[in-house]
Symmetry: C2
Subunit: 296 residues, 2 copies
């Protein structure tokens, strides 16, 4: 199953990458450097996990793949912007991203700030364009859900908590909330997006949201385990940084074994939300398992 999942993730990544290529064209003017930086930060060979979630949940409702790929590309742009800003000297000060210079190293700080800003705008622009869905209600809902996931009550809020909490001893519950905001909301949005595109019934959207919430939490714990146990060769990232920075993680609070058990519990719980979707959801089930067994 994992082999065929890996193949499916790669296939979908190609589709998402193609959509990103189309949606991030290089202009002629003096602003070309900005778009180069946006492309550098986005077209970097990522796994496109968030894009995969959009594509797979959209497929449950027979959504047109071109339409779904636009939404997948949009969430990948939002994610890419967050990484560009996270890597800045004033934030995590990370010179390396996927084994390559991070955006402010490849360009400069000002360009990286602007590229992140423009990627966020572009993500919302793509969602609001009529090509994304013929129903304007669907487009407005996609914007609303992404903006909520990205903003002060989502990703940015989580990032702030992470900064405020540095050096503080957080409880497992507090860390859970931090991570739900910082990385969970965007993963949850990615799983919900298919239901929004497919104009699914509210209970179906809720099930996919619950699935997204659980794999998001599992993913984060797995990521923190990799930071402790992985190698730079496997992950292409500077390892042990979280520990060195005294960052609050589930691994730090629960220890490796209990954190791993928690991740596995969350993955199983995620899969349980998919029962009513039948065999069509097999890849999403496999993804929940993969989240907690991956090595990079």
């Amino acid at each position: 199953m994992t082999d065929s999942l890996t193949a499916a993730i790669k296939r979908v990544a190609v589709e998402v990458e193609a959509a990103l290529e189309t949606l991030l064209p290089l202009p002629d003017g003096l602003e070309a450097r900005l778009c180069e930086a946006m492309r550098y930060a986005t077209l970097n060979g990522g796994k496109r996990m968030r894009g995969f979630l959009v594509m797979e949940t959209a497929a449950l409702f027979g959504v047109d793949r071109t339409s779904a790929a636009r939404v997948a590309a949009s969430v990948e742009m939002l994610h890419a912007y967050s990484l560009v800003h996270d890597d800045l000297p004033a934030m995590d000060d990370d010179d390396l991203r996927r084994g390559k210079p991070s955006a402010h190293k490849a360009f400069d700080e000002a360009t990286a700030i602007l590229a992140g800003d423009a990627l966020q705008s572009r993500a919302f622009e793509v969602l609001a364009e009529p090509d994304t869905h013929s129903n304007p209600e669907a487009r407005a809902e996609l914007v609303l859900a992404l903006a909520h996931a990205a903003g002060a009550r989502g990703m940015c809020g989580g990032q702030m908590i992470d900064m405020v909490a540095e050096g503080q001893a957080l409880t497992a519950d507090e860390i859970g909330r931090l991570q739900a905001l910082k990385t969970g909301r965007l993963i949850q949005y990615s799983a919900e997006a298919g239901a929004i595109l497919g104009r699914a019934a509210p209970h179906q959207r809720h099930l996919l949201a619950a699935y997204g919430r659980d794999i998001g939490a599992a993913f984060q714990i797995a990521d923190d385990l990799l930071d402790v146990e992985g190698t730079e060769e496997e992950t292409g990232k500077t390892m042990g940084k979280d520990v060195a920075a005294g960052k609050a993680t589930m691994v730090a609070v629960l220890g490796i074994e209990r954190a791993r058990a928690q991740a596995q519990h969350l993955a199983a719980q995620a899969a349980s939300h998919l029962e009513s979707f039948g065999p069509q959801a097999d890849k999403l089930r496999a993804l929940a398992h993969y989240m907690v067994t991956r090595r990079n």
Copy 2:
């Protein structure tokens, strides 16, 4: 006329300020610091020129003022985010904004970056919320137009050109394009927003867009004139910075007199687009004149 315009601008600023207060609540969690920074950057006693344009153009079509105030607040959040990021050390490195410490001075750089990011998300979130307009088509159009105005083909693109061009000799046409992107698009959007909210006929939206384009260009030249001629006491900003930085402005290329004539020409042209709107558009006409005569 100018006296009554000034009073009208102040009245509308109060409405927009109230909407901002409501739309940027302070949460309880550890992320409160982020929202404090968002509020600090936004609720700063600005003139709310962009918000005024939204409110006045919306009034032409009898749009509900609560609805228009949400859109006005949204464009002010977008504008505020751009100022926070512009002031960062890696960008313009400006410690002063309206006579007060800029956001990264009042808080810190990382918080300022995040607050700008979250303000951008919040601007789109507010537009997409059903409270903004009962018609989802209107909400999607507002998002689309704002995202276009804010992104690589708008504000961020203009900012990039400004950076790339520093020290280069630009022609008046190139400076015109730079400024149309950097500050013009958002002002144009503000004037168009009323037409979108009012579900106006396309030719009416085009007229208001043309009005916005022209006052935007006039506004920028007036701003550059103030940088040369104004005092810090009048403007609350560090003066002479553009000249010191060798920034490309119309004033630098055309000289003070020709730049002033160009601004007046643009203001008159802006007013000419409003002919078909009758006396209801008097304040917008007065605003075009005010743009080029203001002292702060």
